[in-house]
Symmetry: C2
Subunit: 124 residues, 2 copies
């Protein structure tokens, strides 16, 4: 169980940030109608609204560098994932440090979707 | 519901860090035998082991300053809470920035306990 949690969360993190950096509109496949995103304090509910928020971020390309991935099994067969890393935006010299947590929940199809997503930039 | 989640998570955060800073041994009241803590990558399971870890941290007094608290209802009537802030240790000039997430789960007694807890210092 413990090992499966690690494997799923690492694969999820790799997939999520790869889509974010290379094919952001495909992130919608990871959310459901009940999903929630809190982005720098702004609350957004539902796959459509979350997809619109991510699509309309004020930059086209970015690159995430992952520093740490921690995960635990949650109740109800889910997984909580905590990520820290940095975000490189085009034409910005400095990386922005961020932390993000996900609560992954099993979907009827046998995979996982993002039920909870909270993102914060870390100000130094 | 949304409002209750905010109220519970803010009260929890205030209570948790107040105990941490003033009466650290009482933090054990917030964990159960199934609780999990990942502290700077180290995995600890169960209220006894978590209490021992927190008790044996290499400083007696500290002070947390909270910058942001984000919360969402999770599946199964729980609450996910994401905290950012800084930690002042005795005889340290600088604050240490940290991020921490909690998954609070309803207890049979009608309150909440910490099922998942992940803590990371933010390195700049």
């Amino acid at each position: 169980m413990e090992e499966q949690v690690e494997v799923v969360s690492k694969a999820f993190v790799e997939h999520y940030y790869s889509l974010f950096d290379n094919d952001r509109s495909s992130l919608s496949s990871l959310y459901h109608p009940t999903s929630m995103l809190t982005f720098e304090g702004q609350k957004i509910v539902g796959v459509d609204e979350i997809s619109a928020k991510l699509r309309d971020l004020p930059f086209d390309k970015c690159q995430h560098h992952i520093s740490t991935v921690d995960s635990q099994p949650s109740s109800s067969a889910g997984i909580v994932v905590f990520v820290s890393g940095s975000l490189q935006l085009p034409e910005e010299e400095h990386h922005l440090r961020f932390s993000q947590m996900f609560h992954l929940v099993p979907s009827p199809a046998g995979s996982f979707f993002v039920q909870n997503d909270i993102f914060r930039l870390n100000y130094g």
